[in-house]
């Protein structure tokens, strides 16, 4: 494997122990992935922030890194933490969990992670440029960066993204190489995608059938306010039911017009293929913001769907938002037409133990939440076609 002089020196410890450790991990992982070299990155995004996911072992590693005075070398953001940091849930989880969750966030900030991040939409803080190399570890953000921004990132593991942040580079393999970014299947959608829930259902289906990189031909008939949320929901749903890091979307992906579609296997999708994902109400609590939506999007979305929410008997809406919006929270309505609105800044219910919080079920419009709530949070879920 080729290393630059700087990388060789870093690997030999000339620039200190944290860089040596990060380079050691990156080089070994890169060799295992058959990468020929490392590539410099502009932005790392780390996952594994929830105490419920990484536990005492993850906390221990972060403490050791902080003790060694580790600092990230490039701009770095982090995924949301668990809802233990939200007042409404803190007492449920107890002091031990809250203190440890807070410590994880503090340690990450101490090593240089943007304190306004803690979101699964890092592209809202810093939009990656076309062709930029990144090391991102959140599957929904990875597929957005590759498919919408035209940036290049693999689905990194939490640790390797952290090591990439410390070393400022990652393995040059997979999505970083242009030849690996060509479509393998042509997905032709026969119905107009006219809601976020339908975009989610379509994404869940595509993820189940695709074996490589899909090229998606679909008509998105959506109000401008919710179009981007719907696209994000579709992409994150694909990334939930597959290991796909890139989906080429006609009319949206940069350079889509120059993509060669000749010889691709065609997969037609009609409404019957996706309607099974959408069901009846399973909870009077609704979860919005998977991936996170910002406050402007949340307000627009709520204004659009409040009538439908009432029609379904929804009494409470949890909305996960980036923590960069924290300062605007006090200005927001907490009750709209009798429905309680609970904003969850910088956190994510999906990576939290919801059973302990006595939340046994959540309705949603997002495919990723629908897919992962039962697996990760211990709560059942349903996809309502209301937006």
């Amino acid at each position: 494997m080729y290393l630059t002089k700087w990388e060789e020196k870093a690997l030999q410890g000339e620039f200190g122990e944290p860089l040596r450790m990060a380079m050691n991990v990156l080089v070994k992982v890169c060799k295992a992935l058959k990468g020929e070299k490392l590539i410099e990155i502009t932005h790392a995004h780390v996952s594994g922030i929830s105490y419920f996911n990484i536990g005492d072992e993850g906390l221990e590693l972060l403490q050791d890194l902080a003790k060694k005075k580790t600092r990230v070398l490039v701009y770095t953001t982090a995924n949301p933490s668990s809802i233990a940091l939200i007042d409404e849930f803190a007492s449920v989880y107890g002091v031990d969990v809250v203190v440890k969750q807070r410590k994880i966030v503090e340690l990450l900030i101490a090593i240089g992670i943007d304190n306004k991040s803690f979101t699964c939409v890092p592209y809202k803080l810093r939009v990656p440029g076309y062709g930029e190399h990144l090391a991102w570890a959140e599957s929904s953000a990875v597929i957005y960066a590759n498919s919408i921004a035209g940036a290049k990132t693999n689905r990194e593991g939490g640790i390797t993204a952290l090591m990439a942040a410390i070393a400022g580079r990652t393995c040059f393999c997979g999505m970083h190489i242009d030849e690996n970014r060509c479509p393998t299947e042509l997905i032709e959608v026969s119905f107009p995608v006219n809601s976020i829930a339908l975009a989610s259902a379509l994404g869940l289906f595509i993820g189940k059938v695709v074996r490589g990189i899909p090229y998606i031909k679909a008509v998105f008939r959506l109000h401008e306010d919710i179009r981007d949320i719907a696209i994000r929901s579709m992409l994150s749903s694909i990334a939930s039911t597959s290991s796909t890091a890139l989906a080429l979307v006609e009319g949206i992906t940069p350079g889509y017009a120059n993509i060669n579609l000749k010889g691709l296997e065609k997969i037609s999708v009609d409404i019957d293929d996706v309607k099974d994902f959408i069901g009846g109400r399973c909870s009077d609590a609704m979860f919005l913001g998977c991936p996170h939506i910002d406050i402007k999007e949340a307000e627009e979305l709520l204004a659009d769907i409040v009538g439908q929410l009432k029609g379904y008997g929804i009494k409470k809406v949890y909305i996960a938002i980036p923590s960069l919006d924290l300062h605007k929270l006090s200005e927001l309505n907490r009750v709209i037409d009798g429905i309680d609105i609970v904003y969850l800044p910088g956190v994510c219910p999906v990576v939290s133990n919801l059973k302990l919080a006595k939340v046994y079920s959540l309705s949603t419009i997002h495919g990723k939440a629908y897919h992962y709530l039962p697996k990760l949070a211990g709560a059942s879920s349903c996809l309502l076609n209301i937006a």
């Binding site: 070994k28 992982v29 593991g157």
Partner: protein, 140 residues
């Protein structure tokens, strides 16, 4: 009875590693290994109750979560980690964990070599020139 295999594998070890093996068919560090004792708990591993501590851990197949990296790191910090890991296909989650632990992880071993190893064998791993050599001594 013993057998030595010398292979062209792109893995370097700094010094000779010697130890007894624990052989498993499938393993995730999250869920299959007790974090407090270093003991394998999964029946599917083929070696439930075996301690991985200071052993050469031979794994046919990995499974499981990316949190496995943290668990392996924690085991090593408590002095409960394995001496080395031998496997067929590398799992980046475990490669990262082994690198942070500073323990050798050797992958790309032919499956027939892996399958010839059983729990309790004595193994010596060393570099002979550019080749990585594995001496397997059967203990009866």
């Amino acid at each position: 009875m013993s057998a030595e295999y010398c292979l062209n594998i792109d893995v370097d070890i700094e010094k000779t590693v010697e130890g007894n093996t624990v052989k498993v068919s499938v393993l995730s560090f999250l869920g299959d290994v007790n974090k407090e004792t270093g003991t394998i708990e999964s029946n599917e591993s083929g070696c439930p109750g075996c301690s991985i501590t200071n052993k050469i851990l031979v794994i046919e197949r990995f499974r499981g979560s990316t949190v496995g990296t943290y668990v392996l790191y924690s085991l090593c910090k408590k002095g409960l980690g394995p001496k080395a890991i031998l496997c067929f296909e590398p799992d980046p989650v475990v490669v990262a964990g082994a690198a942070i632990c500073e323990i050798p992880m050797i992958y790309g071993l032919p499956m027939d070599v892996l399958q010839s190893i059983t729990t309790g064998d004595k193994i010596i791993i060393s570099m002979k020139g550019d080749k990585l050599c594995i001496l397997i001594k059967k203990v009866f």
